[in-house]
């Protein structure tokens, strides 16, 4: 990222520590009430909202191609309309990567939903139109998993975005905007940005930037750090229906406390925080964020009270020279169909049904990249390591196909329901009719030199 100047931070720190940063959305589709409750049920200074998963950008890109006024998280503007009065009254500022591939349209929609709200946008992460320029410069954007050059999928690319860091977000906060919107800002950057802004951290404060990135990682998946999806004593975690979303209370020195509003459900404990720290983790000594590299083996956790975990000791290193690119591309079609068979011999019936469908697909001469069958109720999740259940009460056969021939995949979706009359006895559970055919939008992770990505800030209102 290139900034002029690198980190303006023109305002002196506003806050007597700690700074309270909450996350009210772990993904697009998370609980709609969560951000509303976070701003209403207790004091917070910043509300972060993470809307983007790896392939969300491609879905948004397609929406924008169909309608130039779309391409952002459409839940976001009505949410701001709903909480605008509270965030203004309570001086809460919102940071979200809801902008998707069209932050400008998103900002305009926010202004329409909440006219009194000033919105700042971080622009420049969208490099969809620059792929050929990058290739001409000799950047092959090799797939980080397979090593293949992006030229292999050049004609099928649907979106391309650089994961931007926290400094552009902090720059946007310095404009005084109530809402800061980005496109593909990296998830942990959303929580790190207010720390940079309020505490005046510099671009080389590696330990502090690492601590803020760890804080972001801990809260980025919402309630996965407050008792949701938690194995430890899960039956006794209180009131999941009213689970509290996570809050970090950050100190200028880089330590912070993970907590939630009093009176909410769930549980914040070091066991729970450990599960989230390990979630989707690679090499723990090299947690690579846009702004630094964090070493997860230096993290110290301490339970200091009910629903309060103190995090300290985080060490970081210099940020990598490259930024990560999130490229999505069209990769054929798929469909998945199911049928349920009951006792007796439920599994045998389901297995026979699978053989019948495969025989009919073969006789039609249809070609697929893959046909994959699972038997739900009989070890679909755990495969061969599952225990066996002799003669289960029912089994669902689940057959999936994928391939590049759209017509073949469509024809597959016609081959399941005939089993009701022409297969083993007692088929049921076909009420949804023929399964839908879905385009496969695949993910291509790559790198691009940091200096190629120039972000800028625009303000509305």
């Amino acid at each position: 990222m290139i900034h002029q100047p690198p980190n303006p931070n023109p305002q002196p720190p506003r806050f007597a520590a700690p700074l309270r940063i909450a996350n009210g959305q772990g993904f697009w589709g998370d609980w709609l009430e969560a951000p509303v409750r976070l701003v209403e049920q207790g004091p917070i200074d910043y509300l972060t909202l993470d809307y983007l998963a790896e392939v969300t950008m491609s879905i948004l890109q397609k929406q924008r191609q169909a309608d130039p006024s779309l391409g952002y998280a459409r839940d976001f503007p009505p949410l701001i309309g709903r909480i605008a009065k509270t965030v203004l009254d309570r001086n809460v500022r919102v940071i979200a990567n809801a902008g998707g591939v069209n932050p400008v349209a998103c900002a305009e929609a926010v202004r329409k939903a909440a006219p009194g709200i000033k919105v700042a946008m971080v622009l420049g992460d969208d490099v969809f139109s620059r792929i050929d320029e990058f290739l001409a410069k000799g950047y092959c954007m090799a797939n980080l998993d397979s090593g293949e050059s992006v030229t292999k999928i050049r004609n099928r690319i649907l979106s391309a975005n650089a994961y931007s860091g926290a400094f552009p977000l902090a720059e946007a906060l310095a404009t005084g905007a109530h809402v800061v919107l980005a496109g593909r800002a990296a998830d942990p950057a959303l929580a790190l940005a207010p720390m940079i802004h309020e505490f005046g951290w510099s671009e080389t404060d590696w330990d502090k930037l690492a601590a803020g990135s760890v804080a972001g990682h801990i809260i980025e998946c919402g309630t996965q750090t407050t008792g949701g999806n938690c194995q430890v004593d899960w039956q006794n975690i209180p009131d999941l229906a009213n689970i509290g979303y996570p809050i970090v209370e950050a100190e200028p020195g880089g330590t912070f406390i993970v907590t939630k509003h009093p009176g909410t459900g769930g549980r914040v404990h070091s066991d729970v925080v450990k599960e989230q720290l390990l979630y989707e983790l690679g090499d723990p000594q090299n947690f690579i964020a846009p702004d630094c590299i964090a070493d997860f083996t230096t993290i110290h956790l301490e339970d200091i009270g009910p629903d309060r975990v103190r995090v300290s000791g985080v060490r970081g290193r210099e940020r990598p020279a490259d930024l990560k690119l999130s490229i999505s591309y069209a990769n054929g079609w798929k469909a998945i169909g199911t049928m349920v068979y009951s006792w007796p011999q439920a599994l045998e019936k389901a297995q026979v049904a699978d053989r019948i469908v495969r025989a009919r697909l073969a006789s039609l001469g249809l070609g697929f990249e893959e046909i994959y069958t699972e038997f739900l109720g009989s070890s679909a999740c755990h495969g061969p390591v599952a225990h066996t259940c002799p003669d289960p009460p029912e089994v669902q056969v689940r057959i999936g196909v994928r391939g590049y021939d759209h017509k073949a995949v469509v024809r597959f979706t016609r081959e399941l329901i005939p089993l009701v009359l022409s297969g083993p006895p007692g088929a049921t559970g076909y009420g949804e009719g023929r399964p839908p055919v879905r385009e496969i939008v695949a993910y291509w992770p790559a790198l691009i030199p940091r200096e190629e990505i120039r972000t800028s800030i625009e303000v509305l209102g």
Binding site: L277, E280, T297, Y372, H382, G383, Y443, P445
Partner: protein, 105 residues
């Protein structure tokens, strides 16, 4: 004495593309050395058998009494490509709790 991993540890699993990660956390820090000794990358690879097509890597986090495993080529292509019910590997951590390990000192 042999016990299922579930007796001394909890897990959380997730995905990065076609790679599944499993974090394994000892309930009691005193059991962390047992995890390090017993729960090798080779044993985890053998446990999942042909579900994991690629290699298994192990990383140690003594500060959290935890191990992190990366199971490569484990999710049928991963993400949107995979045809599996558990394309994100969310249940792999629970599956590993079945593994019998020797907790003798």
């Amino acid at each position: 004495m042999k016990v299922p991993l579930a007796k001394i540890a909890h897990t959380r699993s997730g995905d990065k593309g076609d790679t599944c990660n499993i974090g394994v956390i000892a309930y009691d820090a005193r059991h962390y050395p047992v995890l390090v000794r017993e729960l090798t990358a080779e044993r985890v690879k053998a446990f999942f058998g042909d579900r994991v097509k690629g290699k298994v890597e192990r990383f140690e986090l003594p500060n959290l009494s935890a191990l992190n495993f990366l199971l490569h080529e484990a999710l049928g292509g991963g993400g949107t490509v995979s045809l599996r019910i558990d394309a994100q590997g969310k249940t792999f951590g629970a599956a590993l709790l079945r593994l019998e390990i020797d907790i003798s000192e």
